[in-house]
């Protein structure tokens, strides 16, 4: 039983479970973000965000989410360091094998994503927690006005570029990570693998497309 957390396969299992969890979360996050372009009234977005911020279940979920990210990152670090140690001397001619291209850059796309995540958290989440965010009063209730913040941010071109670039790199991470997670779970055969790969591509397109269309629409509106 102990091997499930410590063995190479166990660590990979943890990585993949955390990864799939984050994949699911991204969908939810995207769904909420899309509210801002679907509804003209920014308060819809703010109200949902408010609900997300106050609901006890969501609060618990938030801890789980951070746990998931942490788990994913820590295991990734351990695995990556082990992988580097496993080949102390690199080849001078870089690998030319016909392989999944993006899988070779998981650690790089991960670092970019992590940096983005840090800035993102500083921008929205921590600000809100510390009470530095804009507030708006509706029917006697104070809401954090994320919507306005977002609409303001996405009028700044460098920020839009940075934001979109980050998601493209996240896409690179996802397109391999999605199907790799299923392989690690043990799901890989002639029948299902093509379906999973198609899903991975679809998912990546939806996530990257969804998250990048928001700043683009706002910027060009």
């Amino acid at each position: 039983m102990s091997g499930i957390f410590t063995s190479s396969i166990g660590k990979k299992l943890m990585m993949s479970l955390a990864g799939i969890f984050l994949i699911t979360f991204l969908l939810v996050h995207l769904g909420i973000n899309l509210l801002i372009i679907i509804f003209d009234d920014p308060m819809v977005f703010n109200k949902v965000a408010h609900f997300m911020g106050k609901n006890i279940l969501i609060k618990i979920f938030e801890i789980v989410l951070f746990g998931g990210i942490l788990l994913h990152v820590i295991y990734a670090l351990i695995l990556q360091i082990q992988n580097w140690i496993a080949r102390p001397r690199r080849y001078s001619k870089s690998n030319y094998s016909n392989t999944s291209f993006f899988s070779k850059f998981m650690i790089h796309t991960a670092i970019i994503t992590l940096v983005f995540l840090g800035i993102h958290m500083a921008d929205f989440y921590i600000k809100a927690k510390l009470g530095h965010a804009l507030e708006i009063e509706v029917d006697g209730v104070f809401y954090h006005d994320f919507a306005t913040e977002m609409l303001d941010k996405f009028k700044i071109l460098p920020f839009v570029i940075f934001y979109i670039a980050a998601f493209i790199f996240l896409g690179f991470h996802l397109i391999h990570g999605f199907q790799s997670a299923f392989k690690t779970l043990g799901l890989d055969n002639k029948k299902y693998t093509p379906i999973i790969q198609a899903l991975a591509t679809l998912y990546t397109v939806v996530i990257v497309g969804g998250f990048t269309i928001i700043p683009l629409l706002i910027y060009f509106k």
């Binding site: 499930i4 190479s8 496993a86 080849y91 392989t99 392989k183």
Partner: protein
């Protein structure tokens, strides 16, 4: 054909190695890659230099002894073959060919292109077998085996233990090798009896030997001379969970 060769030379595991450049002329495109190195070695011997050391034996792609990292690919620029089956017609006149040994912590270099792959033997010794003594077997047809599983088992069993999977993997992982052995034996009723014990022991040993972790990159599958697929790694994962959880 005339060729430029850039070959890794290393005296022993503790000495620093380096690339040495050689020129070789008039190689027949019908020659195999190892025959090309034979010609080079003949020239080196004539010049009182030490020939390039590499492992080889059957020269027909089945013993798994040969292995070199040629222009960024284990076993060179062709698929489903070992170096000894690689033919010079896969190169062009005037090509520069870079030849390196398998590189992995678990496969230390012995000399030049020869590496120590005893870690694979250690893995099989750990649990890569069916515990049956000579003489105790029932009639061969007493346990029917569905053709489908016999075939899948054979797919996995065709591993020649050359180490190309480890050499190709960016993480120097041995998951394809272990996955193939676990699949080969577990898919058969005879080997299924000790499936759980086998997978736990082999995975623990694999980790201990210093191989890297699988990232499902698929370089192993792309370079396996016997076409062993990633599905065997997935099966290894499943078997491992079954045994653990």
């Amino acid at each position: 054909m005339n060729l430029k060769l850039k070959i890794w030379r290393q005296r022993d595991p503790n000495t620093r190695g380096k690339f040495v450049n050689y020129k070789l002329n008039d190689i027949s495109p019908e020659s195999s890659f190892l025959e090309m190195i034979d010609v080079l070695n003949e020239e080196l011997i004539t010049k009182n230099e030490e020939p390039i050391v590499f492992d080889d034996d059957c020269r027909e792609g089945i013993c798994g002894a040969c292995g070199m990292y040629i222009n960024g690919r284990p076993h060179g620029p062709d698929s489903l073959i070992t170096v000894c089956q690689l033919h010079m017609r896969k190169f062009k006149d005037g090509d520069t060919i870079v030849i390196e040994p398998w590189r992995a912590r678990a496969f230390p270099v012995i000399r030049d292109l020869m590496v120590d792959r005893s870690a694979f033997d250690t893995l099989i010794q750990e649990a890569g077998f069916v515990s049956v003594n000579t003489g105790s077997a029932p009639d061969a047809n007493s346990i029917p085996v569905a053709k489908k599983y016999a075939d899948l088992s054979m797919d996995a069993a065709s591993c020649i233990g050359c180490g190309a999977c480890v050499a190709a993997c960016k993480n120097a992982s041995a998951m394809l090798f272990v996955g193939a052995k676990v699949s080969h034996l577990t898919l058969l009723p005879q080997g299924n009896v000790e499936a759980e014990d086998r997978v736990l022991k082999m995975v623990a040993k694999m980790d201990e030997l210093g191989f890297g972790n699988c990232t499902n990159t698929g370089a192993c599958e792309a370079e396996c001379p016997k076409g062993i697929t990633l599905t065997n790694i997935a099966r290894l994962n499943r078997e491992y969970y079954k045994a653990t959880v």
